[in-house]
Structures are given as structure tokens and as C-alpha cells.
């Protein structure tokens, strides 16, 4: 049985909470100008921990760093080298990665506002506050950026849209439930079925993950930690764990073309309001209210009883996607499959399925084992909120979008897999040349145009909605390390 996560004073609070009651937030991208000053500021920064959540927190501060930032702070290469490749090369650091993520053409990193070349941030400062408190909070935490050792910060704002994302849909409903108490042992026959209780090590570095192993992170020669700031590595007590109680924070600023979205659907619906909403809901895979399109069946493990109605469902009984289209955004982002989707109950049936005999049609058993590809989402909206009806007549200059933030331990197997194989996968679950109707690039590989969305109908014929333009564009992004508090102190004093 995996151990419980108890070092709550060492874990940044974002792992446990999206700070829902702190409706104001601002994300500052900082570049280091003066290493000594920046280290001193980082060492003293009032970072909110999980333990702090025991009492009401009116404001919160979180800090994350890019690989470039850790280098600028003087973290030795020997320590950095222990991080996984995606973090080291960065979200925009490799053309092959950009191809997989769909960051090509007009969305190529060269055209981003930040996150590329000279626009690469070193430090991400996440500030949250109760209504009316944000400006004061910022003045307290970072009264003078230059004095703190940074260049003039660039700020990414947020807007409280009341739990809706800019297209108008209730958002943030489906989240994995990390197994903080360590009550579930992964890789038992129970995993044949979909479950929402996920090993803590899928989100927190230094703990057992869904394979019962530890994700890649730097475990240091003790000589690099003479002050004994860092904890011993769980899987190798002779080494000090720089990753322990930290996570990887993936940030993507996604501009959403709200007006373009509703106008495109209005054209498809020929002005019929109900049909326009119906198509949008089919594309998203939930009602505007956030209610699912499929009925909940047997309770899903790891979904709280009060959430079962909205989150306690799978798509097992909707194989053709007649209720929730196979290509719908939420179905792509989390297909809710167990390890052996085709298996009947019983050990013999599992064996039969494991040899590949249970799958009948060409689309059976294509997408399995969702538990290895889950993300803790912590994003915030930005820009001007528009109701769907307003969007039809809004000026094109109104900008809004999502400051997409997610936490995961293995960027390649979690965020990048979901983005490339599921959202942007032209053949996802047996679809024929489609990408995610909301977020997808319409050209997943150079010679393939994938700009339709299939809305299945009861007689088997799919309505092919489209051609759809791109509704979401990448404005910037980067991979960060969200360190544990001890690790942050080590980084601030390193080298």
C-alpha cells in the first residue's frame, strides 16, 4: 500500500486547492536580472502551503520555475540533469515537440507573446486574493521587482467568470482525486474498471505513481545538499530528493475566439438557437450547465457522492457516441476507460481480453487505461466575458481565453499525451481525421486536414459538422517546476 502524503507544510497549496474562494488572480512572468537579489527574495517569499489551508487564507502565493530560471539562479547542471527531458527542453524548445503539441503554423512558438527565446520566463509568480485584495497582495509580495532582482515583470491577468469558461460552459467539473491518504494500491484487478482515485505520485514528485514507481526527478548526491535541506529519496535513501513534494506545472495561455465559435455554429445551425446550443454542447460533451450528456451508471470510485451525478459516469454504454460524441472535447480529454475496456467480469474473461480476443469491431479497445493520463487542472479565465448570444454581435477585438494550468508528475505521459494523442489525435478512438472540436489544430500532420466534427445520429450516419476554423490559439506557454518549500529554499541557496 502506498504511504499517505503527510508533509503538508512542504507542499504548495495549489496541489490541494484551486483557491476557488480567492476569485482574483494574477500570474507574473519574471526574468532574473540579479541572481543574488532574486535568491534572497525567493528564500523569503511567503509561499502558501497545504498546511496553511487548515485555516482561512485570504491571499495565496505560489512559485514555479523554468529550467532556464533554475540555471539563472545557479542551480548546478548535475542537479538539473535529473529532471525529465520535456522540462529540460521546454514546451517550445524542440520542433518535434511542437509538432506533437499542435504548435505549428500560426501557432508556432515563434509567434507566441511569451515562452520562447527572449520571452522565456524564469520564475512564475502566482498570486491569488479575495475580492478587492489582489493589488495589495501584489504590493506586499513583490513591492519592487527590480529590488527583488527581476526585470520588469509581464503580467497575465485573470477574470472571474463565475465558474464558466469563455465559450460559456461551466468548467472545472472533472478532476482526478489524488490518493493523498494512500488507501488504494494501483495495478490490482480493480483497475480493469475506470476509477478517479489516482496515485499521489501522478501529481506529486517523489511518491509512488500508477506504476507503483517514482517519476523522473532529480535525486541528488548528498554533497549537493550539505545543509541537509532536502528530504531523502523514498526509493533511494542514499540520495536527496529535489523533486519531493513538488510537481510540474504546465502553463498555456489559450486565446479563445468566442465570437468566431458561436458565429460558426450559428451558420451550421442556420440561425436556429436551440440547434446552435445543441451542436455546441455535443462538441463540448456537456451541457452549458456542466451536466453530462450520458447518464451516470454505477458509482465511480474516487468521485465524492455529491459529485456522482455530474462526474460519476463512463462512456461504456455509449460506444457509438449517440449521447456524447466520441470526438467531444471532454470525452477526448478523459475517455474514462479502465485498463481492459473490452473485458467481461471474471479472471478468465480478463485473460481472454488480455490476449486481444475480446475486441470485436475495429474501434474496440483503442483507448485504455485513462489512469496513466490524468491532469489536475488549475486554470483561470482571462479577458472579457461574453454570453453566447452576445458573442454573435460582439466586436472581433474582444479577447478572452484561458490561462490553462495543470499539474502532473510526468509531462510526457500526462499533459503531452492528452494534448497529442487524445485532443489532437486525428485517429482518436477510431475517428477518421478529426481533432478536438474546441481546441484542436485542424492540421495534425502536414498533409492531413482534419477540420470536421462527427455528431453521431441514431441510424449510424454521423452529421459531419464543419469545416471548422480554429477556435483556440496559443499565445504563450512554458513548463515549470513547482517545488516543495524545502526544495525552493535549496534552490534559493544553491550553488
Amino acid at each position: 500500500m502506498p504511504g499517505a502524503v503527510t508533509e503538508t507544510a512542504d507542499i504548495q497549496a495549489l496541489l490541494r486547492s484551486g483557491f476557488g474562494s480567492l476569485t482574483e488572480a494574477e500570474f507574473l512572468l519574471l526574468r532574473i536580472a540579479d541572481r543574488a537579489a532574486a535568491r534572497a527574495w525567493l528564500a523569503a517569499a511567503p509561499v502558501t502551503s497545504v498546511a496553511d489551508l487548515a485555516t482561512r487564507v485570504p491571499v495565496a502565493t505560489q512559485i514555479a520555475l523554468t529550467a532556464e530560471g533554475m540555471r539563472a539562479l545557479g542551480v548546478p547542471e548535475a542537479a538539473l540533469a535529473g529532471f525529465a527531458d520535456p522540462f529540460l527542453s521546454g514546451m517550445a524548445g524542440d520542433a518535434a515537440r511542437s509538432r506533437r503539441l499542435g504548435d505549428t503554423g500560426t501557432d508556432a512558438p515563434e509567434s507566441w507573446d511569451w515562452g520562447h527565446a527572449a520571452g522565456m520566463p524564469h520564475v512564475l509568480l502566482l498570486l491569488y486574493a479575495e475580492p478587492g485584495q489582489l493589488a495589495r497582495h501584489r504590493a506586499t509580495v513583490l513591492p519592487d521587482a527590480q529590488r527583488a532582482g527581476f526585470e520588469a515583470p509581464s503580467s497575465l491577468g485573470t477574470t472571474n467568470m463565475g465558474g464558466r469558461e469563455p465559450f460559456g460552459f461551466a468548467d472545472g467539473i472533472s478532476q482526478p482525486q489524488p490518493d493523498w491518504r494512500g488507501v488504494r494500491r494501483p495495478n490490482t484487478p480493480a483497475d480493469v474498471e475506470y476509477g478517479n482515485l489516482i496515485a499521489a505520485g501522478e501529481f506529486l514528485l517523489g511518491y509512488g505513481n500508477e506504476y507503483g514507481r517514482h517519476a523522473q526527478r532529480p535525486v541528488l548526491d548528498p554533497a549537493l545538499d550539505a545543509a541537509l535541506l532536502l528530504p531523502a529519496a523514498e526509493d533511494d535513501p542514499t540520495r536527496r530528493d529535489l523533486g519531493r513534494n513538488g510537481s510540474h506545472l504546465v502553463f498555456r495561455q489559450l486565446a479563445q475566439d468566442v465570437a468566431g465559435f458561436w458565429r460558426a455554429l450559428d451558420r451550421v445551425a442556420a440561425g436556429d438557437v436551440a440547434r446552435r446550443i445543441g451542436i455546441a454542447e455535443a462538441m463540448v460533451g456537456r451541457r452549458l450547465s456542466g451536466d453530462p450528456l450520458v447518464e451516470s451508471g454505477a458509482p465511480v470510485r474516487g468521485v465524492a457522492p455529491r459529485d456522482q451525478a455530474r462526474n460519476g459516469f463512463t462512456y461504456t454504454r455509449d460506444a457509438l457516441g449517440l449521447r456524447c460524441p466520441i470526438g467531444a472535447h471532454v470525452r477526448r480529454a478523459n475517455p474514462r476507460t479502465g485498463d481492459l475496456p473490452a473485458a467481461a467480469p471474471g479472471a478468465l474473461a480478463r485473460l481472454y481480453a488480455a490476449f486481444g480476443f475480446a475486441a470485436r469491431g475495429p474501434r474496440d479497445d483503442l483507448v485504455a487505461a485513462s489512469r496513466f493520463h490524468r491532469l489536475l487542472r488549475r486554470g483561470r479565465e482571462y479577458g472579457t466575458a461574453l454570453a453566447p448570444a452576445e458573442a454573435l454581435t460582439a466586436a472581433d477585438t474582444v479577447e478572452s481565453g484561458l490561462q490553462f494550468i495543470c499539474l502532473n508528475a510526468d509531462i510526457a505521459r500526462q499533459f503531452e499525451f492528452v494534448q497529442s494523442a487524445w485532443l489532437n489525435g486525428a485517429k482518436f478512438a477510431g475517428l477518421r481525421d478529426e481533432t478536438d472540436p474546441l481546441t484542436g489544430t485542424r492540421r495534425p500532420v502536414p498533409d492531413l486536414i482534419a477540420d470536421r466534427f462527427t455528431w453521431p445520429r441514431p441510424n449510424g450516419l454521423g452529421e459531419r459538422v464543419g469545416p471548422l476554423p480554429r477556435f483556440v490559439r496559443v499565445r504563450g506557454g512554458a513548463y515549470f517546476f513547482l517545488p516543495g518549500l524545502r526544495a525552493l529554499r535549496w534552490i534559493a541557496g544553491a550553488g
Binding site: 517519476a215 485498463d339 488480455a354 486481444g356 475495429p362 486525428a426 500532420v445 453521431p456
Partner: protein
């Protein structure tokens, strides 16, 4: 029936860089062949599914030291391999005839190449037969794949025009309309669906013998196998507990060489090379398992799936250097990371059976447990043994195995006499 062809010749050490430069001129994108390239215009060979040139420069030979062994004079092989319809020798004849000049320029960088020699004979003496060969769908030719893709395109275009009016029609009724449309298109000569030749009696008999022959043989040998099993397992466990795991993270530069050739299409290539663990025990185990694997891929996994994995177009395992080293080469759909995740989550046991006999593979238990389940070590092992494929050709870009399977089922469903409403609904959903 599809066949695998492969020619391997040792590269002249002084010429490797020039050879890589020459091979790169065949590409449209990094590692991605221009079908009309001047050297070997793969696109003009109508029975060719996939082909590749890969240079087997094995950077893991040092791992042999863990066994007190070495292979100082190991050749660097240039390999031309591919999959075609019909027998492999005929493909080599066609290549030598129609791309002889280009092949001469390429193989001139190999030791022992003789300008004056008969190219075909030279290639034939360097042919390597696979120890095991996987075909996603036995017997499906390039022509059939292309015809069925045209069928799908035609049905889709017709439905884009006429589908709205049929939105509420019964599935069987829609199917009847589509059958009529296809028949008209065929009569007009706009659509071809060449009938599949029915397998003759001897072919059927051979298939039946393949299917039952191996189980019968194993049944006959069962008493001996059962008696020997404890001894085998005892020796196996001794090996498994002592064999070193050598799976350091691959160098960033090596990874970059691999990934820049990836994800230019919905499919990708994979070529990996490494040493078999020294000793007769491991070699014998590996050969027996490859023989069984090969049988399962001829008899059982013949229509669309290798165990639970549907995304592999072709795969082969081939020995080189007198069975000291093993090449694995495949063409598959999606990115390598998802391919590896699929492997681990769906068929870790199958990978372990074969690859645990290679030096450095993550530790297994009784050949099937552990191994690939050690995720990071497995992924590092795979990437470290993978080699850049210099040139890779695919005859049907944009099409994945799921397209091919859906198109084949569409065609089969078209030719079926009758369907009930539910079957027709599922058939229509394939479009």
C-alpha cells in the same frame, strides 16, 4: 500475401557520413521519403507498402562488457527493408531492374560492393530472412487498401451531398441507397473494387496445418516440456536475478536525431538494434519464443490486432551477425510515446517474453512479469536502442490501421447479402 524483404550489407567505415548525406537526398522531410526521389522512387512500385533504409551503428556494444564479452569488429550494417505484396524475391528483382542505378550508388558505400557485379545477385546473397514477421491484416494488398480508401472517400462525399435528407431514414434503407450508389459508380468505371481471389484448396490446407500444427506439436511434446519445465524455470530465474539492467537515459542529441524524423504523418517508423544476452540458454529461449510468436502472427493475429495492439502496420524481428544481434523494425500509428505507453499497458508480457533476452532489458520475472512495467527504465531502454531511420516510405500517407480496418469492413459489409438494423447502424458508423 504480404512478404518481408531485407538486405543487409556492412558499411565501409570511411563512407558512413557520405552515405547518410546521400540517403538524406531521398527525403521530402527529415527521414520521410519523397515517393518520387531519384535514387529509389518507392512510389512507383505498386506492390510496396513500406520501405526504409537504416544504418545500424550500434552504440550499445559496450554493454557486452557486463558479461565479460566484447564485439570489437562489429560491422555497421546498411539495411534496406520493406514489406510488399507477393513474394520478396520478385520485389528485389523489380527494385534491381527499375532502381538499379540508385541502389548501386547507395550500396557502393558498402564493403565488398563490386561495380561490375550483377546487382540482383549481389543483393540476393545479402538477404536476411526475418525470425518473426507481423502483418496487420494478412493478404490485404496495396491495391486493395487504395481501392477501399477510394470507396470510403466516395461514400463520404455522397453523404456530404445527400446525407441530410437521410438523417432520419432507417439504417438498412440508407445502406441500400449506398449499395446502389456504389454499384452505379462501379458500372460507370469511377470506382473499382477488384474481387479478392478466393484462396485455393492447397492454400486453405496450408493455413489449416499452420493453425493446428504447432498446437499439435506442442501437445505431443507436452510430457517432455512438463518434465523439463522446473529445470528451465530454475535456470531462467538464475539468469533473471543476475542479468544486469542497463538502461541509462539516452543522450539528448540521440533523442533529437530520433524525434526530428517523427510525427510527420499519422504513422511513424521504429528501428531498434541490440545484442542478445550471451550464452545458449538465452539464444535458445529467444529463438523458441520468436518461433511461437511468428506462428501466432500467422495463425491467430491475422486481422487487425497483435494481441491488444491494433496500431502496428508491420513489424519484424531479424537476427544479424550470426544471431549475436537482433533488429526490430516496425511501422505504427501515433507518436512513439503513445506507442510505448500502449506497449506497457496492453502487452508488457509479450514484449518481456522476447526483449528480456536482450542485454540490459529491465528485470523480468518468469519472462512475463516486471520488465516493461518498470516504465522509465523501459522507455530509456527503447529509446537508447532505437536508431535513426534515414529514409522511410509509406504507400498510404494519412491512413492509419484504424482507417484500413474500417474501410475493409465497409467493403465487406457492402458485399454482404443482408444486414439487420443494428448491423447496418454499426456499418454506417464506419463511414
Amino acid at each position: 500475401m504480404q512478404s518481408a524483404f531485407m538486405v543487409a550489407a556492412p558499411v565501409d567505415p570511411d563512407c558512413e557520413a557520405d552515405l547518410r548525406t546521400l540517403l538524406a537526398t531521398m527525403n521530402r522531410l527529415p527521414g520521410f521519403a519523397d515517393p518520387d526521389n531519384e535514387l529509389v522512387p518507392f512510389g512507383r512500385f505498386e506492390t510496396l507498402h513500406f520501405a526504409r533504409f537504416v544504418i545500424l551503428r550500434d552504440t550499445t556494444l559496450g554493454d557486452l562488457a557486463a558479461y565479460g564479452s566484447s564485439f570489437p569488429d562489429a560491422p555497421v550494417w546498411l539495411v534496406l527493408l520493406g514489406e510488399c505484396d507477393g513474394p520478396a524475391p520478385a520485389m528485389l528483382v523489380a527494385l534491381a531492374e527499375r532502381a538499379g542505378a540508385g541502389l548501386r550508388r547507395i550500396f557502393a558505400f558498402c564493403r565488398g560492393f563490386d561495380e561490375g557485379a550483377d546487382l540482383l545477385a549481389w543483393l540476393r546473397t545479402r538477404e536476411v530472412q526475418p525470425a518473426a514477421f507481423y502483418v496487420n491484416w494478412r493478404g490485404r494488398s496495396v491495391r486493395r487498401i487504395r481501392e477501399e480508401a477510394s470507396l470510403h472517400r466516395a461514400l463520404r462525399a455522397w453523404l456530404d451531398e445527400n446525407g441530410a435528407a437521410l438523417a432520419n431514414a432507417a439504417p438498412t434503407q440508407v445502406r441500400d441507397r449506398l449499395i446502389a450508389y456504389v454499384a452505379a459508380e462501379q458500372r460507370a468505371g469511377r470506382l473499382a473494387l477488384t474481387p479478392e481471389p478466393a484462396p485455393d484448396a492447397t492454400a486453405r490446407l496450408r493455413e489449416l496445418l499452420t493453425l493446428i500444427g504447432v498446437p499439435l506439436l506442442l501437445l505431443a511434446l507436452a510430457p517432455a516440456l512438463i518434465v523439463l519445465a522446473p529445470l528451465f524455470l530454475w535456470i531462467l530465474r538464475r539468469h533473471e536475478t543476475r542479468d544486469p539492467v542497463i538502461a541509462p537515459r539516452p543522450a539528448a542529441a540521440h533523442l533529437a536525431e530520433l524525434t526530428r524524423r517523427e510525427d510527420h504523418d499519422v504513422s511513424n517508423q521504429f528501428s531498434a538494434f541490440g545484442c542478445v544476452k550471451p550464452g545458449l540458454f538465452r539464444l535458445g529461449t529467444l529463438r523458441a519464443l520468436l518461433w511461437l510468436l511468428d506462428w501466432s502472427m500467422r495463425a491467430i493475429y491475422v486481422r487487425g490486432r497483435l494481441a491488444r495492439v491494433p496500431t502496428i502496420h508491420f513489424a519484424r524481428w531479424a537476427f544479424l551477425d550470426g544471431q549475436r544481434r537482433l533488429l526490430f523494425a516496425s511501422s505504427y500509428d501515433g507518436s512513439l510515446d503513445s506507442y510505448m505507453d500502449d506497449f506497457i499497458n496492453k502487452v508488457a508480457w509479450g514484449l518481456n517474453l522476447v526483449f528480456s533476452n536482450g542485454i540490459g532489458y529491465p528485470a523480468t520475472r518468469f519472462l512475463i512479469g516486471g520488465g516493461a512495467k518498470d516504465e522509465l527504465a523501459f522507455k530509456a531502454y527503447i529509446r537508447r536502442h532505437e536508431l535513426p531511420t534515414e529514409v522511410w516510405y509509406k504507400a498510404y500517407p494519412g491512413l492509419g490501421t484504424v482507417d484500413l480496418a474500417c474501410n475493409t469492413r465497409l467493403r465487406e459489409g457492402l458485399e454482404r447479402a443482408a444486414m439487420d438494423a443494428d448491423a447496418a447502424r454499426h456499418w454506417l458508423a464506419l463511414i
